[in-house]
Amino acid sequence: MRCAAIVFFLYAACAGAAELRGDAIFLCDALRQPSIKSSEATAYGKLADALAAAVGNERTRPEVARFLAVLRNPQGRSFDVAPEGNTEKIFRSVPAETITISCAPSVPQYLVEVATAALLAERIRIEHELPAMKTRAAILEKASRDAEDLLKNGLAMWPWELWLNGLRLSDKDADPLFRTQWVVLRPSAGIEIDLRSQASADLQASVMLEPLGFVRYRGDSYAHWWGASLVVTSSTNRGAGVGALLRWDNYVIGLTRHKGEGSEPDSTFLMVGVDLYDLLNKKRTELKDWDAFARLRSAP
């Protein structure tokens, strides 16, 4: 018991910031007893009545009158009591209306009542706003996840695409993120297949440039999309081609038209992105393996 008393004394001697302890208030390094009870703090109006009764004639003091007026019409105002130097301040966020409680040499009882009412009012404010705070936190979590998913999982953007798509954002982060991404001057690798000379398996490695296009995201995590673009290709020995492509996730397929040289007629090429080409190749190998396996099994 004696130990507890010593600990409490030490704590009280050092403590600074105001806080409620049951029906008492710890203010300016001392435990003080207000006449307002925390049970009276069920609503701002009730609290204002209790404070008016507790301060008696002091209610005409400008700072008390001001406090009572705000308490009766709080409009979301914070009633936090915060330390600064050797003072405690109420309405610190409104410099012209700040109520300063000097901690030396003694604190008048009416300010003890006001500080108590402020701490109780702050609790009421938090209670009122907590459901909205929770909703906001949940919305923010989703918005944050979307913003990072786009950068992590979405169609990778070249620096200029990242910059241009950024220009489309609203200046308010609370507005939802777009679901359609622009594709601009996007280079990538592909394979072009001459549809006129399939017999010779005329595959051309090519650099593709998409002057303009878009992708539309589907699903939740910006990991899947479809889209379309105009495309210009430059293959190793068939010159420049012009056409259009379709995109499904990382798979790209399109058609390009290459001008024939001299008397050669123009050619239409099937254009395949590297990922789709890899996928098709993999499937083809799997099929070959399966054929070989099937032949082995059927062999006498």
């Binding site: 600074g16 300016c28 709080p74 409009q75 915060a82 003072t87 909703t135 979590e141 990072e148 786009l150």
Partner: protein
């Protein structure tokens, strides 16, 4: 998190920051606690008095650089004269591979200020963590019938800009529609009469500490520190804390006059306890800096403790050379000061800040 304590969010600046990056700043605060044996119990660490929440956003920059490097690596060399794809590939791979240098050279500044999608992702990450922490801590306080806790954020360097922008969005954005609010809280209509008017939900951050403030030059949204609603600032108190020879503060516009709120507190320090005076921990070690954080957030740090810190801050060791540099000769001291002055250019442009960052790190031998 321990119940019943106030919360300090820490936000980093440029450079690479892994998980646990706040170890140094926290160590600086703990070292500061030892200067006041009458205010803190011997052997007790900071986490017995304060909940520190570390916030990290530079992995978002990493993601972007990694993806650029991937794109560049997948690009084939074109046929014909000018090999433009190789040039692009080289540039982007260099940024991704030499991430440490890129970050130190101020590349983070370019990513944040030049790419709105990157900046938005960083702001949302920060706001999501702050908003959820505020909910959790307030909920616990109400459940235990305690006074609601106080929340403050100490941001460093580029982090000051990110903090101003992010909190401005958090406090001014219409995150919750009336319909959503009504769905979440059946008492919403009756509560409306006494709570904030629809359209915005205050953050009510109790303190914002801008350490080596770059927000005057780099900010992308409004200033959270100046945001008012119904005549009240959303941020209860703001401190701009700068070293008089920190090139980042100088170029970042921290010493320029501006339309700041009348109660904004400017803390100017001039100590040299290590070569990297821009370092977050170097700032926090100073009594004039940590006393403001302790006084706001640690109830045990009384007015008398605050006074002691103010007195300590005037001591010669906190006004000039000390710590690791205590043994330096006059010549070495003058040389460092000269280098720092040279690194500072007062042009108010993001690119100039990037240049100043590069010069600064070169001057102190970290590049």
């Amino acid at each position: 998190m321990a119940p019943g304590m106030n919360v300090l969010f820490l936000l980093h600046g440029v450079g690479r920051h892994a998980e646990g990056w706040s170890r140094d700043p926290v160590a600086a605060l703990q070292a500061g606690m030892k200067l006041y044996p009458e205010c803190f119990e011997a052997g007790k660490s900071l986490d017995r008095y304060l909940t520190v929440v570390e916030i990290k956003y530079d992995d978002i920059f990493d993601t972007v650089l990694d993806r650029w490097a991937e794109l560049a690596a997948a690009l084939p060399a074109p046929t014909g004269g000018f090999n433009w794809t190789s040039k692009v590939t080289q540039l982007l791979k260099k940024a991704g591979d030499e991430r440490n240098i890129f970050a130190r050279y101020g590349g983070d500044v370019l990513l944040y200020c030049g790419f709105a999608l990157v900046a938005r992702a960083a702001r949302l990450r920060i706001n999501s963590l702050i908003a959820s922490t505020i909910v959790e801590e307030n909920e616990a306080a109400l459940r235990d019938r305690r006074s609601p806790p106080k929340f403050a954020l100490a941001a460093h360097s580029l982090g000051t800009t990110v903090a101003q922008d992010a909190l401005y969005q958090l406090a001014s954005g219409r995150w919750v529609s009336d319909e959503q609010q009504l769905a979440a809280d059946p008492n919403f209509v009756s509560a409306l009469a006494s709570s904030a008017p629809p359209g915005g939900l205050a953050v009510n951050l109790h303190g914002l500490f801008l350490v080596s403030d770059t927000s005057p030059v780099l900010h992308q949204s409004g200033y959270y520190s100046e945001l008012e609603r119904n005549g009240a600032y959303d941020c209860h108190a703001v401190w701009s804390i700068n070293h008089e020879l920190d090139p980042i503060s100088v170029v970042g516009g921290a010493f320029e006059p501006g339309p700041w709120r009348p109660d904004k507190k400017n803390v100017r320090v001039g100590h040299f306890h290590r070569e990297n005076i821009h370092d977050f921990a170097h700032y926090l070690a100073h009594p004039a800096v940590h006393c403001e954080i302790f006084r706001l957030l640690i109830p045990q740090f009384s007015g008398a403790c605050y006074q002691k810190a103010q007195t300590l801050a005037e001591a010669p060791v906190w006004k000039g050379f000390g710590g690791e540099l205590a043994g330096w000769l006059t010549q070495e001291r003058s040389k460092l000061k000269r280098k720092l002055r040279t690194a500072a250019r007062r042009d108010r442009q993001p690119m100039k800040l990037r240049d100043a960052t590069e010069k600064y790190y070169k001057a102190i031998g970290l590049l």
